[in-house]
Amino acid sequence: PLPPRAALSRDEILRYSRQLVLPELGVHGQLRLATASVLVVGCGGLGCPLAQYLAAAGVGRLGLVDYDVVEMSNLARQVLHGEALAGQAKVFSAAASLRRLNSAVECVPYAQALTPATALDLVRRYDVVADCSDNVPTRYLVNDACVLAGRPLVSASALRFEGQITVYHYDGGPCYRCIFPQPPPAETVTNCADGGVLGVVTGVLGCLQALEVLKIAAGLGPSYSRSLLIFDALRGQFRCIQLRSRRPDCAACGERPTVTDLQDYEAFCGSSATDKCRSLQLL
């Protein structure tokens, strides 16, 4: 966590003037954003717009985690990267773009996969976590690290023309394991390479995810704790569904948790957190 600050500079007042005049945010909320730190897990289709709008809004520190390098097939949705940066680590490409937009935001690139060995220590260094990853083992890993470290988790996902977003482990609400105690069978999971995705759908979801992070960081509270917003881009339909409460018998956040350390999530899920060439599945 960053040290508290008493006042905004003249430059900050000018730069953030359009949001400072919002009574719900104001100088108090802006100071909270300026001293907030957010860990962005994944700098792909969701992480790019998310990091872009968090940096623009003046969040103090952004941790960027991604082991992957920029490929041409990323550029139809991963808008922080550019053609000239193909082959570079995504976190460095993203950090360079964010610096152009707002040099006052401290970007910390982690050019590595999030692993059970590193996740807890990393998550503890940030106030809020955004899960922008693209595979099941990482989603369980991020969840368990957030529960163990006591951090709120804003989680989004997108595939084809659809997107989903919710907030886990916030103010007594459920965690990912409360909703999904068991991982899906590996053969039922589709990734973006196989199933496809329309880039701007990740744009809509990444922006909504940034909004939830900003509201949590500014003290306004999120809208999607205990609920899940689903978006159907072909029909232009949003639908908010009510999720269950925290489960007292949850393995991670329940009254007698069995997940007291991070585990082997690839074994638990029967799939890889980094393999990009899984075979085509139906859904």
Binding site: S133, P183, P185, T202
Partner: protein
């Protein structure tokens, strides 16, 4: 004897691909001795709507892990899961969780 029920059954998040890509199904469940609950509905769906690869949707007598069941836009866990007794005009949504980004 339970009267016939008219129910909206919806699939999303990719689950619709097991049902010819059709997201909304207006369904009439025939009258029967026992009341219609979600457990019976799953059997009915397997027999009447789900033509192939049922293991991608059903596991045992429930849905497979990773599929959320919503009755009238609320998590079925709030309503008794498999034992929830369907009412006429209920909407039941089966949504497959997405993991892409």
């Amino acid at each position: 004897m339970a009267a016939p029920l008219s129910v909206e059954v919806e699939f999303g998040g990719g689950a619709e691909l097991l049902f010819d890509g059709i997201k909304k199904h207006q369904v009439t469940l025939p009258g029967q001795e026992e009341p219609w609950d979600i457990r019976n509905l799953l059997v009915w769906i397997k027999k009447n709507l789900l033509k192939e690869r049922p293991e991608l949707f059903i596991q045992g007598d429930s849905v497979r892990p990773g599929i959320l069941v919503l009755v009238n836009d609320a998590d079925w866990e709030l309503l008794g899961e498999l034992d929830y007794q369907l009412q006429d005009q209920d909407s039941v949504l089966f949504i497959s969780t997405l993991h892409g980004g």
